[in-house]
């Protein structure tokens, strides 16, 4: 695969909270247009790493650059150049579809004609133009996820972080969501995704498995299955995560 432009570069990332080492010497690179999966049991250190990579948290030590910006001194620039969506990230229920898009567009510094054009483009891509004046609270969960995803992309970031984005929807809706992910990756956006669904790990170009704050494995799903002599990513994950010492 010719995806050589580096978008995220992490060397020896360490993050401590007091005595507790949440991220223990992580080193990896993520390339342009790659779908990069980030897996680990509850408490393995995924959230800490994502918060550092998205500029929300300062690392303790290590060399980290995201979209070309320094994770210590340029955290605001990182925030402006990435998109972020989580299952918990909620749209405003008491605003309409259009109002939500306009609000988040405004936060990312879009205004006037550009904002208006982007709103129309987004509504038409989502086939939601007809529903633009509906309140968020009246939409099905699958629609909200698609809308959240598009809004996280409103400022056309080079990277989008998805933190467990697909909980609770039916398999058809979940697939159409993954097709959206593939489509933005095909257009060159880097996708950094965490999930509890091991079958979803198989959609990623490469997958990292974290155990107790460390990276235990990093490779394509096909190579991981080969290395660990497993039939599925679920088996690979269980093999590695069982080694964890923490409860």
């Amino acid at each position: 695969m010719e995806k050589k432009e580096i978008i995220i570069e992490v060397e020896n990332l360490v993050k401590k909270f007091g005595q507790f080492v949440a991220n223990d010497n992580l080193t990896f690179k993520v390339f342009k247009g790659e779908i990069f999966g980030f897996l680990g049991a509850n408490g393995a250190g995924k959230t800490t790493a994502i918060r550092i990579l998205s500029g929300l948290l300062e690392p303790t030590s290590g060399k980290i650059s995201v979209a070309g910006y320094n994770a210590y001194s340029q955290r605001d620039l990182i925030k402006a150049n990435i998109g972020y969506m989580s299952q918990k990230f909620s749209l405003y229920d008491d605003l309409t579809v259009r109002e939500n898009i306009r609000f988040f567009g405004g936060i990312y510094g879009l205004y006037g004609k550009i904002l208006k054009a982007r709103i129309d483009e987004l509504l038409s891509d989502l086939k939601m133009t007809e529903f633009k004046d509906d309140l968020i609270s009246s939409l099905p969960l699958g629609w909200k996820q698609r809308l959240s995803f598009s809004i996280a992309m409103i400022h056309k970031p080079v990277i989008i972080f998805l933190d467990e984005p697909t909980g609770g929807v039916d398999p058809i809706t979940r697939r159409s969501f993954w097709e959206m992910i593939h489509s933005v990756a095909n257009q060159g956006t880097t996708v950094f995704v965490t999930t509890h669904y091991m079958d979803e790990a198989e959609y990623c170009d490469r997958v990292t498995i974290m155990v107790d704050g460390r990276i235990e494995a990093l490779d394509s799903p096909a190579n991981l299955k080969k290395t660990f002599n497993a039939n599925s990513m679920d088996e690979v994950f269980v093999m590695l995560a069982r080694k964890a010492k923490s409860a």
Binding site: G40, A41, N42, G43, P140, L141, G167, G168, V169, D170, P171, I172, T173, R175, W178, E179, H182, S183, A185, N186, H196, Y197, M198, D199, E200, A201, E202, Y203, P221, A222, M233, D234, F237, V238, A241, R242, A244, A247
Partner: protein
């Protein structure tokens, strides 16, 4: 008489028909799965069975007790684990267990054998507040509390949602042991891969049951041949497949695409040639066995 009988059960809320008159029975000692996405009606059904919600019409009974009239008896024989963590976060592990045992007029010692395996894992943390436990530990404590009065029937509402793959595996292993003790278990889940761990499953969507069968039985009823196609760029191939008139459905399953066709004369070879001619020379096509997820999507498609 079967321990769980559901007959034409219907329930509507203000705007939605959560259950549209569903019927099924669960046999003695069975591990029965209710498989469906959010909003399918799983929680409504389980809450009605636990006598916490009244149905609009229809009937249901647990070990011969009507879920409306005999709610007193129901609560003695049912262990219920709601989807949201509902133990006391400001009590310790041990205090929660003692509390639930006490409410049901039992003690931890009386039915200790039932929870022994689970409690063994919790014991190092027995002095910790329930609110400070990890997700997997909370789930184990909730199961212990639902078991402490030795129920005949366990009703578990999405016990593994949001729990990591290792804890999910351990949880299902425990359900297998409880089944061996003769407890009838009804468990709901949005994870299709857990379906194969049940004796029988009901696939549920939008308040209706799409199918009730053994996992193998559901797979055997898949109406078409299913092809698995692997290729280096699955996303472009997916888009291409959907433009082909012979392609009925095409869905991504990880790096593979699952395809059904509207023409029964198609073979792996002819499909492969067809793709090669359109420039997808690197693809491999094999006939594959459907998963429960394939079956669910096929049934959902028919239901729309």
């Amino acid at each position: 008489m079967n321990p769980i009988i559901v007959n034409k059960l219907a329930k509507s809320y203000e705007k939605v028909n959560a259950l549209k008159g569903i019927s099924f029975e669960v046999e003695d000692g069975e591990l029965f799965g209710l498989i469906g996405p959010d909003g399918a009606g799983k929680t409504t059904l389980i809450r009605i069975l636990a006598s916490l919600l009244l149905p609009d019409t229809g009937k249901a009974s647990l070990v011969g007790n009507d879920v409306v009239k005999d709610f007193h008896e129901i609560r003695k024989i049912v262990g219920y684990m709601p989807s949201r963590f509902s133990l006391y976060t400001d009590l310790t592990v041990q205090e929660n267990l003692e509390f639930f045992a006490g409410v049901f007029g039992s003690t931890i010692e009386e039915n200790y054998y039932l929870i022994k395996d689970i409690y063994h894992m919790l014991e190092p943390f027995k002095g910790r507040l329930a609110g400070k436990l990890s997700g997997g530990m909370k789930q184990k404590l909730a199961l212990s509390c639902a078991l402490i009065h030795k129920p005949k029937i366990l009703l578990l509402d999405e016990p593994t949602t949001g729990v990591d793959a290792v804890s999910r595996k351990e949880f299902w292993a425990m359900l297998g042991k409880l089944k061996a003790e003769g407890i009838t278990i009804l468990v709901s889940t949005p994870y299709m891969d857990e379906a194969s761990l049940c004796d029988r499953i009901a696939l549920i969507d939008k308040g209706e049951i799409l199918s009730v069968n053994t996992p193998k039985g559901i797979i055997a009823l898949f109406p078409q041949k299913l092809y698995g196609i692997s290729t280096p760029n699955s996303f472009s191939l997916l888009n291409h497949l959907r433009t082909l008139p012979i392609c009925k459905d095409a869905f991504l399953f990880g790096q593979e695409i699952h395809v059904t066709t509207s023409n029964s004369n198609i073979t792996c070879e002819s499909l492969h040639d067809l793709l090669s001619n359109s420039g997808f020379t690197n693809s491999t096509v094999t006939l594959i066995e459907p998963t429960v997820e394939d079956c669910f999507m096929q049934l959902m498609g028919n239901n729309r």
